[in-house]
Symmetry: C2
Subunit: 340 residues, 2 copies
DNA sequence: AATCTTAACTAAATCGGTTTAGCTACTTCT
DNA sequence: AGAAGTAGCTAAACCGATTTAGTTAAGATT
């Protein structure tokens, strides 16, 4: 299977490269290439499996029919699902997706943005580390199309699609309160991400509505890089006799996993002694012992809407697509909060 | 932040594009560009955040420092983990990764291969649908570097990194046998994938060693696209009174999830009435009720070894890297097989 | 017969780099 | 003094497309 180039087709058929290019880009008619010539070109191209070199094409057009997706970590199920849906939707609309993981490193995120721009992506979907305001602002200044997902910069006026972290967490905390729990621990990450801040605020707001004083001792903020270690002392402190919490809200699926693992290791009865709930979930959370009450994020919607907004902007359709979206999450009530 | 090109640097510093290109590619010394000029160029480039256009670079060099990864589905945790490790390792070695999902569609897989070649990727890692022998053979013929992972074509002599599906499944089946289970169901996928065939063979081989007749009724092969529906009747048939199985081996993590969900819905006691084990696992399988005995695949090794083999081949280092690898899986024994 | 149109093309510039083949001005050797 | 060598560059071709600005020949118009 030798590669065929535009030039080869042109030479073989005794026409110009221009003609071949025009025809294969469906611009034959508008450039008055005769039907006969068009037929010959199309047939030859098909027969020899011609596929244009995307680098050359992208270089010369300054376009690439490619969008970039920058996420913290492709291994995380939340982001891998997003990636899957983004890929599907983009493909539907005729675009290819370039993925890359920043590993929560702002510097790497910056490099990725640049590297993607240099690959002529036409737009970006970014789940940012939120420590690159400068880069984001400069994208904005250059009028480069992009959409932030999952995490946005509240201080900057950009497109975004996020979930309502505040209400998600507030709802699930209220759920515990309704069930009579009063001493509710909160295991989260060190703030830095707006989403994480919002989750804390949601937790606090729920307590406030129930006139419960906010007790900082009940809030454990772990480091994103070392949470597997830190969870041990966090849980120990939360369940310290005789002042143990009666429930814990975990602010991410992985904190829930390690947290529950730790609770089991310490033989804490869940949910009798300590009820738990999770923001975000893993596929098997309904099979876990006990099945875990979770705030479910509309992953598919996030992806689809982000792609829609982005491509809409790329293609310059000025119809007023709402470009700042805060989506609702759903609460899946299961046994881990002691409902039944 | 206006973009700076090679030409700009050259003009600004009154040197040729050649000089700039050479210096920025670390070929200044060998081309006898004076230290002073090198300094000026490097400084200017750094100061103005010059990053070469990858399309132009790739086009002119016929290289791209990019490898492609084609997997069935980025949303599947198994593949998303692979993707994560591939990305990390490749980055370490100076390569960027282009991902794409084939969704188990051989035609799409073919298109992806072509599309990646046209983006000048220098090598491919493919978890193939195994219905594209022709394309694979033609890659081979073109001496294009590639490594098959997870799924390989046994009839074709290529690089590959797979796990030992046969022994993985044999071991876990034997484990059930050792625990006294004798009527063992097997829930798998319609064959087509070599890996799936091997798993069935492993199951059969374990039975044979224990002189148990192979009973086709106990083997349920579901369709990859409709397993969520088909699992219902599969489970019903397997547990039909009074000939119920006493255990079930699931051949993928998602079959395990839906299978267990179904068993619970039917109020089957796991593991007392029916023990279960899983080939491959999800993050939370140790937290499930009951914790699921699983064959754990060495995901990180698969990724790392595949990247090593590939890049080794790309860079033409002829040292005898073993390029056909069958990796062992590990058995994580948990309560779902009724051990304790 | 001279001019205008139009159908059906094409030559050549361009995208932003890399790379080959030289060129110039010194210095060194014999 | 002339030849040879070398340090320090550069012009221009090239990668494989796209696209702009024409060109040519035939037919229509006046």
């Amino acid at each position: 299977m030798k590669k065929v180039f535009l030039k080869d087709i042109a030479e073989e058929l005794n026409v110009s490269k221009t003609a071949v290019s025009l025809v294969l880009n469906n611009k034959g008619d508008e450039n008055k290439i005769s039907q006969e010539t068009q037929q010959r070109i199309i047939e030859f191209a098909r027969k020899h499996n011609y596929v244009p070199n995307q680098l050359a094409r992208g270089l010369s057009r300054g376009k690439s029919e490619t969008i970039g997706l920058i996420i913290p970590n492709i291994s995380d199920t939340f982001y891998s699902k997003i990636a899957g849906y983004v890929e599907l939707k983009a493909k539907d609309l005729g675009y290819t997706v370039l993925f890359s993981s920043s590993n929560e490193d702002p510097k790497k995120e910056g490099e990725l943005i640049r590297s993607m721009l240099n690959r002529q992506v036409e737009g970006l979907i970014i789940a940012s580390t939120q420590q690159n305001l400068k880069e984001i602002e400069s994208l904005k200044q250059d009028k480069f199309p992009f959409v932030l997902i999952d995490r946005h910069y509240p201080e900057s006026d950009t497109n975004y699609v996020v979930v309502d972290n505040f209400n998600g967490l507030k709802t699930v905390t209220e759920h515990l309160l309704e069930l009579g729990r009063r001493k509710i621990g909160f295991v989260s990450l060190k703030p830095g991400l707006e989403a994480i801040k919002q989750r804390l605020l949601g937790y606090q707001s729920a307590l406030e509505d129930y006139k419960i004083d906010y007790n900082k001792e009940l809030v454990k903020e772990l480091s994103p890089k070392n949470y597997e270690e830190e969870i041990k002392s966090a849980i120990s402190e939360l369940i310290k006799f005789p002042n143990s919490v009666d429930s814990i809200v975990f602010s991410t699926h992985y904190l829930t996993s390690v947290g529950l693992r730790e609770l089991k290791k310490k033989n804490v009865k869940v949910p009798q002694e300590v009820a738990i709930v999770s923001f975000d979930e893993l596929t098997a959370f309904d099979l876990v012992d006990p099945p875990i009450t979770s705030v479910i994020q509309p992953v598919k919607d996030i992806a689809n809407i982000a792609v829609d907004i982005l491509i809409n902007e790329i293609e310059g359709k000025e119809n007023g697509f709402e470009n700042k979206r805060i989506l609702d999450s759903k609460l899946a009530i299961r046994k881990s909060c002691g409902t039944f």
